[in-house]
Symmetry: C2
Subunit: 217 residues, 2 copies
DNA sequence: GTCTATAACGAGATAGAC
DNA sequence: GTCTATCTCGTTATAGAC
């Protein structure tokens, strides 16, 4: 998720970076081409050369965001073995977005769903479906390992988790209190761990969440 | 003096009703005075007589929504005795909004928070603070009764719950699947009930949730 | 690729008649 | 209270020079 950016990116990339941040902080209906143009220091007309319409720009952003998220998920699969560690790494993806004073791009767009062009709606549904698919597999793995204890089908728990994390971010931003997300995330994770594994992991997990002033691992 | 007919509400109320629905379905930045005017069948200029600015209209709507929610909470306090029943009634408030094909007004505005006029931001924070206060008391009551089993401070569980319900609504709407909210809500409630109480209540609770659009058991 | 200039439209808001 | 008419500004988008 966090690729360090080259200092001198090409214009298209700079546009995408600025537009992404605006979309995550103000929503698709909350910014204009003029806002992007001012930050990138080109004219609105030049913007249209790179992205003919705002809908096209929006679509590109969802796809770029989804691809980055997908990469992050694959990375978690490579670097973490057991389900609880993977789950914590998943939650950390959200926490990093929030620490950057942003809302999840797709969570933000979910609120505006009814007003979005159809291609953006489709890309949005795909993002959430992919997330829930990945989480479902993860939860099933944890159940087989004995490291997680679900009381319901994995796909239901996965859907709940995505919703709770997105909602937690949303309210943390509205109340200006990022710790609200951290607390909610910790609670959600604790409820999924099997009682035996929970007591063994608790010390480590609490330390990990409490020891972070800002970003970076 | 008495006005028993909701069919012939006064203009101000009709404006508020239409604007409220637009705000819940499209967001504050997703509708205009022209949209309201077309539905209420008056001109934009007439709208400005009732609400001088859009920000004023938005503020009035948040306050009306908050007052109605507060009334509903008091009603729950009167009509339900034990904490689990009150909790289910609370979740039902959200479910009813969703069944009307709307997002929670304040959950929607939470996404647009950064773009809202300051008075609306303040009213929004007050709504969530009141919700969490009420839920916190409820959870503490349940803990004392022995009907709920929390693993964390009540105020943290309350904040998580509000976020999870708002997020659940958001994603249910984006994926066009209201059952996604129902499933998430059931899971959240089940995790709060004490193991003893849970087995006694499970039959009742499942029946209640499964009654409408029939899904799973 | 980026610019100037402008089109075409919709937004929130106001003046003043009735 | 509601209307017509209008204002001003911001929006997305296009044409054509450089």
């Amino acid at each position: 998720m966090s690729d360090p950016k080259p200092a001198a990116a090409n214009t298209t990339t700079r546009i995408l970076d600025v537009a992404e941040r605006l979309m995550q902080t103000r929503g698709f209906n909350g910014f204009s081409y003029a806002d992007i143009a001012a930050e990138v220091r080109i004219t609105k007309a030049s913007l249209h050369y790179h992205f003919a319409t705002k809908a096209e720009l929006g679509c590109t952003l969802i796809e770029r965001y989804s691809a980055a998220f997908e990469s992050a998920l694959q990375r978690i699969g490579r670097e973490r073995a057991d389900a609880p560690a993977r789950l914590r790494a998943y939650v950390k993806l959200y926490a990093e977005v929030l620490a950057d004073e942003r809302m999840c791009l797709c969570g933000m767009l979910a609120a505006e769903y009814a007003t979005l062009p159809e291609p953006m709606q489709r890309a949005l549904r795909a993002f959430f479906a992919a997330n829930e698919r990945w989480l479902t597999q993860l939860l099933e793995q944890g159940q087989q390992e004995g490291s997680l204890a679900l009381r319901v089908p994995a796909c239901e728990a996965a859907a709940m988790l995505v919703g709770a994390l997105e909602g937690g971010m949303l309210l943390a931003r509205a109340s200006g209190d990022p710790a609200k997300f951290t607390g909610a995330a910790r609670l959600l994770l604790a409820q999924l761990e099997s009682p035996a594994a929970a007591s063994a992991n608790r010390r480590v997990r609490v330390a990990r969440f409490a020891a972070r002033p800002a970003r970076r691992s």
